[in-house]
């Protein structure tokens, strides 16, 4: 039984299709990363899945609900979404920011309940943010900030988590720390995660499944190891990409077109 089902989704913007007939099914506890060159339609796809963008044709189901037929509040109880460049309002405390994730649970007219506060405290604890609770969000480092944004999404307690470029702007150690943290959450909470990533090595190492987009269409979809080694990957990026085995891990190395052909 799939938790998330995307069926024949096409998104037309200004007369051209930025997403063409995309279909996808994801089961519980699966991590799928969407990869592809700039302009391939990754962000459009994840925004369509999150219900923050309407689709031209096709349908997205989460737990058998057509997400565009749900109210914002109902949808926010099924899907947590973090866009590529989240707005972090200066002056807000880390606790208040993460508590925003509980909005769909307590509603607009009620204060967060005890259960909401407990869920926030538990998330802050799990993501090692408990010591920052009273800090102004603007004073956090890049790594702490991204962890806090992830905490807000996890505090929503949804079965599906959608993240658009969650490791942008982080150094390599913080990138791996954040993805490791996310993998732990996927396993412990049986989350279904859809993320977009530009780093193909990390995409291959951390996702169960990769979906490769090119010009709005799916050109490869399958287990990470297979997609990383597929010829469609090099074709999509229009350059040579070599996969090197380093201690059992696939590392994607770009090579110049001349050496790729030799």
């Amino acid at each position: 039984m799939s938790v998330l089902e995307v069926a024949n989704v096409t998104v037309n913007v200004g007369g051209s299709d930025v997403l063409r007939d995309v279909s996808l099914q994801l089961g519980e506890g699966t991590w799928c990363t969407v990869i592809g060159p700039n302009g391939a339609g990754k962000t459009t796809l994840v925004e369509s899945m999150a219900g923050v963008r309407s689709v031209t044709t096709g349908v997205v189901h989460v737990d058998s609900h057509d997400i565009l037929s749900l109210s914002e509040r109902e949808r926010a109880r099924l899907i947590a979404f973090v866009p590529q460049n989240p707005i972090v309002p200066p002056g807000m405390s880390v606790r208040d920011y993460v508590t925003l994730g509980r909005t769909s649970h307590h509603g607009l007219l009620r204060a967060p309940s005890r259960a909401d506060r407990q869920a926030v405290a538990a998330t802050l604890e799990r993501l090692d943010l408990a010591r920052f609770v009273d800090r102004d969000v603007a004073t956090l480092s890049g790594g702490e900030r991204q962890r806090m944004i992830l905490a807000r999404a996890l505090a929503q307690s949804t079965p599906v988590l959608i993240l658009d470029e969650p490791i942008t702007g982080l150094d390599v150690r913080h990138q791996i720390d954040l993805l490791t943290l996310l993998r732990r959450e996927v396993r412990e909470c049986s989350l279904t995660v859809i993320a977009t990533l530009h780093d193909l090595t990390l995409a291959g190492q951390f996702a169960d499944r990769l979906l490769l987009l090119r010009a709005g269409a799916v050109v490869a979809d399958g287990p990470s190891r297979e997609v990383i080694r597929s010829k469609e990957l090099s074709e999509s990026y229009e350059m040579g990409l070599r996969v090197v085995d380093v201690d059992g891990a696939d590392v994607v190395v770009p090579v110049s077109n001349s050496s790729a052909t030799t």
Binding site: E72, A76, P83, P89, L100, L108, A111
Partner: protein, 336 residues
């Protein structure tokens, strides 16, 4: 937070009491207190009938109207700053001032023929204000598809149009009417009566309550439209409700007291400096601070050049700007 909230309530009560006590006709504060208690069924009033008339028919409605107007303008300004995520927003952002200005000018110049016609001017000002906001809402993305930027730009366009129409009307009016329009634009509480208080009260009560309750939604909206929707907020509906409430309340107030500037933009900012960025705190405290501030400004406006009066808009700016700079400086130096 609790200290700031209780201080603002005490300050508002003191300002209101000061508003009752201050004036060219001397009434001692003990007599005012006794008269207030007498109205609550405790003890007896010691006022003469003339003093009673001045206190209850001239000063009291003026103070109450000032409290209502100040609280509504401050809350509406704070709400607009939140809903448009724009620190420069004030209650007149979507054309309320220009619309009310045009309506009042029509009332004073055309219908009143240069004379003040109390029955029609507020009604036309209110109608003009609501018409301007409706135009802004329709132009700025046909309501539910609007974004903060399109609404603000539409507000600028509508305000320009209404202001130019008002200027055209003023051009063709007599100098007496021109003066009246000018004074109306600067705002005044001098024509306050219990009748006006009763007309304005239901608007302010309902609209200010809606805005204050919306504080939690405005906090969510501080992360932008897309993320707010993803967090479960019906962004367009919330924006519609708070814009209608703020505009309706502001239009009611403006139609009664004219275009009092500065309260709507400065009060929420001063409160923000004191209690932080959460609208759950800013809006209720702005309610009290705005009310107290306007009554204090009115007391100054009617005493410094007595027996004539300064336009209250002049006082709100003259007092408000230094107070704002003072709070900003103290906050920067971590004194507050």
């Amino acid at each position: 937070m609790v200290i700031v909230a209780s201080t603002s309530v005490v300050a508002m009560v003191l300002c209101a009491f000061g508003g009752l006590a201050i004036g060219p006709f001397a009434i001692s504060w003990t007599h005012i207190l006794a008269s207030l208690l007498a109205h609550l069924g405790i003890g007896h009033t010691r006022l003469t009938s003339l003093q009673s008339l001045v206190l209850w028919q001239i000063r009291a409605p003026r103070v109450v109207l000032g409290l209502l107007a100040g609280s509504m303008l401050a809350v509406a300004g704070g709400t607009y700053q939140g809903v448009f995520r724009n620190p420069l927003a004030d209650p007149y952002l979507l054309g309320v001032a220009a619309g009310a200005g045009l309506g009042a000018t029509i009332g004073i110049v055309n219908i009143g023929d240069g004379l003040n016609v109390p029955t029609w001017t507020p009604v036309l000002a209110f109608g003009g204000a609501m018409l301007a906001v409706a135009c802004t809402w329709l132009i700025g993305g046909r309501g539910l598809r609007s974004t903060p930027a399109t609404l603000i730009l539409a507000g600028v366009a509508v305000a320009s149009l209404f202001t130019s129409l008002q200027t055209y009307l003023q051009q063709s009016s007599t100098s007496g009417a021109l003066t009246r329009v000018y004074l109306w634009i600067l705002g005044s509480l001098s024509s306050a009566s219990w009748h006006e208080v009763l007309v304005v009260l239901p608007y302010v009560a309902v609209c200010a309550t809606i805005c204050v309750v919306a504080g939690r939604a405005l906090d969510v909206m501080s992360v932008g439209d897309i993320e707010s929707r993803a967090l479960g907020l019906p962004v367009h509906r919330v924006r519609l409700v708070v814009v209608v409430a703020s505009s309706l309340g502001t239009a009611a107030v403006v139609s009664a007291v004219g275009l009092i500037g500065f309260v709507g933009i400065i009060v929420p900012h001063v409160v923000r400096l004191l209690v932080g960025t959460s609208y759950r705190r800013i809006l209720p405290i702005s309610l009290f601070v705005g009310a107290g501030f306007l009554v204090a400004a009115d007391a100054i406006a009617r005493t410094v050049v007595a027996p004539s009066e300064l336009p209250i808009g002049v006082v709100t700016a003259l007092v408000g700007a230094p107070v704002f700079v003072l709070v900003l400086t103290l906050r920067r130096n971590r004194v507050l």
